[in-house]
């Protein structure tokens, strides 16, 4: 199977639009959970080499300390992970919105992290699956770490993959100091399958 080093303009556009719809559905659920308005950005779609991975993720979220949860998904030959990176300075506002107490300990912060991750990761994976007509299996989420610099959360030394397609969505909440990044990471093999799946959407 040939390497995927870049996406065509049409492919990038298509992934962006599919993500746009999925993250809209995710934002709607978060908005209803927290009773807020979630500001939707234009998603970023990129093919990333492994040696650039840490740097790229770091550049997306430059907070000194973050907490992150990731969840695997797989179906119809497409596999990847949804990685939610939470800027630690967001916790006090999230706590207020979720009606947690004013003083948070690490355990309560984990509760909030999981509450938000369940909504955003779940809805996004489901939303993409619906559009591609795939019923993804979702694995149990894993906490990559709490209150750590982002570079410590990711282990790229033991990784076996070469490149990944990363779709980055930066969620912010209007009038609140809440900032998190949802990054969808697809394996290179999945991108081959997905390019085939979306080709019918791109036909004239």
């Amino acid at each position: 199977m040939s390497n995927i080093t870049a996406l065509t303009e049409d492919e990038r556009d298509c992934y962006q639009e599919i993500t746009n719809v999925a993250m809209g559905q995710a934002a709607d659920r978060l908005a209803r959970l927290l009773n807020v308005y979630v500001v939707l950005p234009i998603p970023n779609v990129n093919i990333i080499e492994r040696n650039e991975f840490k740097m790229t993720i770091k550049s997306l979220e430059d907070a000194p300390s973050v907490s992150a949860v990731c969840q695997g998904f797989i179906g119809a030959g497409i596999a990847g992970e949804a990685l939610l990176i939470f800027n630690d300075s967001s916790f006090s506002d999230i706590a207020r919105l979720l009606n947690y107490g004013s003083e948070q300990n690490t355990n309560e912060e984990l509760e909030m992290l999981m509450d938000v991750a369940n909504v955003l990761n779940g809805a996004c994976i489901q939303g993409i699956g619906n559009q591609l007509d795939i019923n993804f299996s979702q694995s149990h989420p894993i906490v990559l770490g709490q209150h750590r610099p982002i570079s410590e959360l990711l282990d790229d030394k033991h990784a076996t993959w070469k490149r990944t397609m990363a779709i980055e969505i930066n969620y912010t909440i209007k009038d609140h100091n809440v900032n998190c990044d949802l990054i969808l990471l697809f394996t290179e093999e999945s991108v081959h399958h997905m390019n085939r799946l979306i080709s019918f959407l791109l036909e004239d």
Partner: protein, 155 residues
Amino acid sequence: MSDSQLDMTEFHWLMDILQTIDVGLVVLDRNYSIKLWNGFMENHSGLRPDQAKGKNLFTLFDEIDENWFKKKAESVFLLNIRAFTISEQRPYLFKFNNNHPITGRAEYMYQNATIIPLNNADGSTENICLIVYDVTNSAMSKHDLQGIQNLLGSH
């Protein structure tokens, strides 16, 4: 709602649950031919139920050591008991990719498995169910812990 309607609702719930649960479910007959293949198995193997059903388990998955597996399964057929395998014996039964392909360190999915007898009305066991659990996380933690223990022990 009548009892039979209730049963049908529950039946549909159960079917949804079995399809969605993060656990692999495979029913095999006496000849190790696949009779049931749930969503977990479909998504991780890439084989749809229509591609798996009716096929021999060992033909489809040559990574499974036939003799080893049969030794466990035959006791389930014959003795009507459950059999368990853990990832320390063999890291996996089915060679599936790690559920966290990008952030994960493991090359493949570590698995525990349970084989349970499915009894006929007369009590005989014509079919067995293979239940596959993803234990990659705990396997990796154990691996890390052992590494630390070895390090400490050597001092």
